[in-house]
């Protein structure tokens, strides 16, 4: 853990084997009670599930202590009973990636913005707001980015049905399945 606590002085551009276990151990030590789920999925990939209230703490720890400097992507997922905002955060020193799944209740789609930590969160959060309707609190300019300003819907939500062409309906559904 001590090797990870202070970032390596130079980015070598090569992966460090077995780093996902160290990252997982570090996260578990710091946020033992707050992690709903934490596992090392495969080589260089750690997945944790947290509540939306703990997002800023976890991300600050990841960025400042573990050296995860690169916010790669923010995905908002509509699970029909709840939303999930998924953050892929990458470490350039050892090639490890942490996938942070922050759960959001369906009736109150709000979560704290990460723009204070990463500028990169700016556009990703705007896009997630635009397409999925998850509101990122504290974002300086949360307006639509891809769709027109006067668009009324958040099209990636499952309730926003699109016309399903017949050829796309699976055989199972045609037979009356799920």
């Amino acid at each position: 853990m001590s090797a990870l606590a202070k970032p390596l002085p130079h980015i070598t551009g090569r992966p460090v084997p077995g780093v996902e276990k160290e990252v997982l151990a570090g996260l578990k030590a710091a946020f033992a009670s707050k992690l709903k789920d934490a596992k090392a999925v495969r080589e260089r990939l750690v997945e944790i599930v947290i509540d939306r209230a703990d997002l800023i703490d976890v991300c600050t720890y990841l960025k400042n202590t573990l050296g995860f400097e690169h916010l790669s992507c923010i995905t908002a997922v509509d699970w029909k009973d709840h939303f999930e905002s998924i953050y892929h955060i990458e470490n350039y020193y050892n090639g490890c990636m942490v996938q942070v799944n922050a759960q959001i209740p369906y009736d109150d789609p709000k979560i704290a913005s990460l723009t204070g930590l990463w500028h990169a969160a700016d556009y990703h959060e705007r896009e997630a707001w635009d397409l999925m309707g998850v509101e990122y609190e504290g974002h300086p300019n949360l307006v639509r980015i891809l769709l027109p300003e006067d668009f009324k819907f958040h099209p990636l939500r499952k309730e926003f049905a699109q016309e399903v062409d017949r050829q796309y309906i699976s055989r199972r559904k045609l037979r009356g399945g799920k």
Partner: protein, 364 residues
């Protein structure tokens, strides 16, 4: 003259696509900038939710129309990770070859569009002339010049054609000769070209990482990050290659970005030649993927423009439940006000040309 906003776009020679760069100028100096994107938004993430896994490759081909294979490959890789299958070895090598050929073609398209940006139309025609060589190779391999539909979930569409290796070698030899003589002379060794690109659009390492700039644009800042080596996928781990990183002074300007991309052309040629030598001569190139899948999988690959990330969730149906596309240009576009501020109006083209904007993948 008071400060005023100039719309550079949506229809403008600089944009190479359909987006609007609003710049606020004081005389000739840029004081503020605001990109407006979304003109080419086609709702890919939503469309992909109603199409079967394999059929989505047709869509991902059109994400970036000059770099189709790399995007389809990233999608296929993410779906494979979700399904838990792995491509046979020969399939992986064929993928590596196709990716690098596509990267060369894409970089040549960038080089071609960077020329007229700076008023050098001759560069456009020369670069497009050599791009034909690689499009011919890709056509030989996959049957189409653009939108190849070549990567498949579980492998590639078909095996390499006969005599592909010899043709590849011949084309690359010819290209490298032109590269060393003509391209170097007209671009890198041109004094006026360096005047236009050196010292403009500078960004520091910390800011570049914080803004999420990836790929050649990040390597131009001196950060040795290449996902082909940092997080090896396919058989890149077995290939001996050197990511093109700008180590000298003046890092992070347009010239550094140009040099990184320009050198990647040569490096990709070497990778293709190595892969042709190392790949097994026979063997399966494709496995049959399961029809339905449940779970989640993500793949990040080194696209021609940076880090391409696909995040696919399946709910047990034969179609993805949710697909997320992370476009490197989308993140770079967020950083363009930082890049542009303080430069001259004429530098807008010099900077935005060097970061290589592809609107198709940016707007999804």
């Amino acid at each position: 003259m008071p400060e005023f906003w100039i719309n550079m776009g949506p229809q403008h020679p600089m944009t190479h696509g359909l987006w609007n760069m609003k710049v606020k100028v004081d005389g000739e100096t840029i004081v503020d900038a605001k990109p407006e994107i979304g003109y080419l938004h086609r709702g890919y993430e939503k469309i992909m939710e109603v199409r079967e896994f394999q059929k989505n490759v047709v869509l991902t081909d059109r994400l970036c129309y000059v770099s189709s294979i790399t995007w389809s490959h990233a999608y296929c890789l993410a779906v494979e990770k979700m399904m838990g299958i792995e491509t046979p070895e020969r399939g992986q090598w064929i993928r590596v070859i196709s990716l690098e050929l596509q990267r060369i073609a894409s970089h040549l398209m960038w080089l071609a569009s960077y020329g007229p940006d700076l008023g050098l139309l001759t560069g456009l025609l020369w670069a497009l002339r050599e791009r034909e060589l690689f499009l011919d190779l890709i056509q030989l391999m996959s049957g189409a010049r653009m939108n190849q539909n070549f990567p498949r979930v579980g492998g590639v569409r078909n095996d390499l054609p006969e005599n592909f290796e010899a043709m590849c070698r011949r084309s690359i030899e010819h290209f490298l000769e032109k590269y060393e003589n003509e391209y170097q002379a007209i671009f890198q060794e041109s004094k006026v070209f360096r005047m236009r690109t050196e010292g403009v659009g500078k960004i520091t390492v910390e800011e570049a990482i914080n803004w999420g700039i990836t790929g050649p644009n990040l390597r131009a800042c001196g950060v040795d990050v290449d996902l082909r080596r940092l997080d090896p996928y396919e058989t890149y781990g077995e290939i001996d290659f050197e990511p093109q990183v700008w180590h000298d002074g003046g890092a992070g300007d347009s010239y550094a970005r140009f040099v990184c991309r320009f050198n990647e052309l040569r490096e990709s040629c070497q990778i293709v030649l190595q892969a042709l030598k190392k790949m097994p001569k026979t063997g399966p190139y494709r496995v049959k993927p399961p029809r339905r899948a449940e779970g989640e999988g993500y793949a990040k690959t080194e696209d021609s423009r940076g880090e391409a990330l696909f995040y696919v969730i399946g709910d047990g149906d034969d179609r993805p439940y949710r697909v997320k596309i992370r476009s490197p240009v989308f993140c770079t576009m967020a950083a363009t006000p930082t890049l542009l501020r303080g430069n001259k109006l004429a530098d807008v083209v010099s900077i935005l040309g060097s970061v290589d904007v592809c609107v198709g993948e940016m707007d999804k």
